[in-house]
């Protein structure tokens, strides 16, 4: 029985460790990452386990490139802020790039590659893990696909991004406190 109790304690500890390990990387990115503000457009579905969320498409979801990159590849996308304060993609590559101080690097995974944008440009669609923000029940119902959202991201040195704050029409939808 003592041995079984030890195994049981180990199993419970492993569950707690799993939960802590899940939470630590995004928490570190939030604490130490560089903050940028981006604009996005919402869609509003529901998740069985996590409730209401707003799915978002960014200006840098589609990255133009002529490079031969396959679907489901890990990629580094370099962004640069233009004169309208929009972060736009500069390049996408498989190796971690060197970036200048006015640039930022995001780590993502190609979804469809190669593909074409609505304008016919060849490129890749990249998923960064920041495409959804979870909001309180019912708070996203009056959102329209035409509404723009301002999202504040925290980006770590490794390129991982975490959503820090999301708002639309001056209304706060989410804030990591």
């Amino acid at each position: 029985m003592k041995l079984q109790r030890n195994y049981f304690i180990a199993a419970v500890i492993s569950q707690i460790v799993i939960l802590v390990c899940l939470a630590i990387p995004p928490a570190l990115t939030l604490a130490n990452g560089r903050t940028i503000s981006v604009v996005t457009v919402p869609v509003d579905p529901w998740d069985m386990f996590r409730g209401d969320y707003v799915r978002m498409a960014y200006d840098f979801t589609f990255v133009p490139t002529e490079e031969d990159i396959k679907s489901h590849s890990k990629v580094f996308v370099v962004l640069k802020e233009d004169n309208d304060k929009k972060w736009l993609p500069v390049s996408v590559q498989l190796e971690k790039p060197e970036i200048s101080s006015d640039q930022i690097m995001l780590l993502g995974e190609t979804e469809y590659a190669p593909t074409k944008s609505e304008k016919g440009t060849t490129g890749v669609r990249v998923k960064y893990g920041i495409e959804a923000v979870y909001i309180p029940e019912g708070k996203g119902k009056d959102l329209k696909n035409t509404d723009t959202m301002n999202v504040v991201l925290s980006v770590g040195n490794d390129g991982r991004a975490v959503i820090k704050r999301a708002e639309t029409k001056g209304r706060l939808l989410y804030e990591m406190k």
Partner: protein, 416 residues
Amino acid sequence: MTKLSAKHQKVVVGEISRWQTEGVIDDSLASSLILQYPDYQTGANVSGALSIAGASLVGLGSILFMAANWQQIPIILKLLLIFAAILISNFFGWKLRFEPGNRPKTGTGLLLLANIFFGAGIWLIAQIFNVDTHFPTGALLWALGTAFSALATGLVPLGCLASILGGLWLFVQQDWDTQRLVSNLPYFLAYTSASFGLGYYLRSRAVMWVTLIAGSLWMLLSSPVRDIALLLWGVTVFAGYFGAREKHAHLSSPFLYAGSITILGSILFTTTFGGFHYEKISTELVPIMSICLSVLGVVAWRVPKFKEEMLACAITVILFSLCLGNAEASAKLVSNIAILGVIAGFIYTGLNRIHSTGLVNVAIVFFVFDIIARYFDYFYSMMNRSVFFLIGGVVLMVVGTLAEQGRRKMVEGLQS
């Protein structure tokens, strides 16, 4: 005092009451004998089922509570609540189930609840940090954490939960756009091996059933060659029964029923839809066909007395493989012949080889299904709808009566 199952207890008490009525034994002796075989099994099962149902409901409620994303509760408090819930349920669950163990059913329910809280914790963290909506890792971690707990405690409900979550992971991790059997097969093999291993460790037929059902659903839904893939899976599972029935009789019956139902279901599908005329099947089916034929070979080698059954399964598989790429009509013809052959084979094996009334029943039920399917195939458009339903109803009643008579005769033959 002999511990009987609920079914046997009912039979014994029924017999004692009959002796009492017939005057073979007097009332006091009947009462003392009945006291020897108390009906504790049913009560225990009911209380166990209630505890598990209660734990599942509380767990579901906690997941929905977290999903509601209530902003009034600070994030840190939500995290503390879920960690506390996991630890407290595990602590009291252990105390009640094992040490000292004076409320084992409630303890099992609490341990199940602790593992549902663990899952709620995973989704809470994913919600807090806005982890991607496609998050198969969440289901995998939940399954693994629960499997650790099941291995440590040896509790079947935890094993079932781990197996269900593993099946959930198998489905959600899949790239449904491509539906490639080959690229997803390693995940399938990993899940089935781990889940069967867990079922074996826990000596649980329930875990075996969960794994077999998840496996069949995956074969049916995840491949563009779903009917033949399902047939190959069914044959592999059916062969598994013959490989396991001697040494692991207690665990083998799910393989017999899941295998036979899957084989007949997949062939019945083909008899109606003629669905196995694919243009590009070789690469999709080579791995699973190799696994299937290897299992048949190993079982024939290890259990030589069933090599005829393994040979018949191999012939069925090869016959179907030869039909691949042919026209729909010929596929339907072959599968119509095959289903009758397989039904006859199952009845023969059930009656003469393994003495299983269950296998005979499965075969007869599918024989009735086959007749219904053929009736719809050939007569539905030829008659006025009202006549169709009238005749259809009469045919079903007659077939049902004949099938029941035949089944009774066969079962009586088996029992005698």
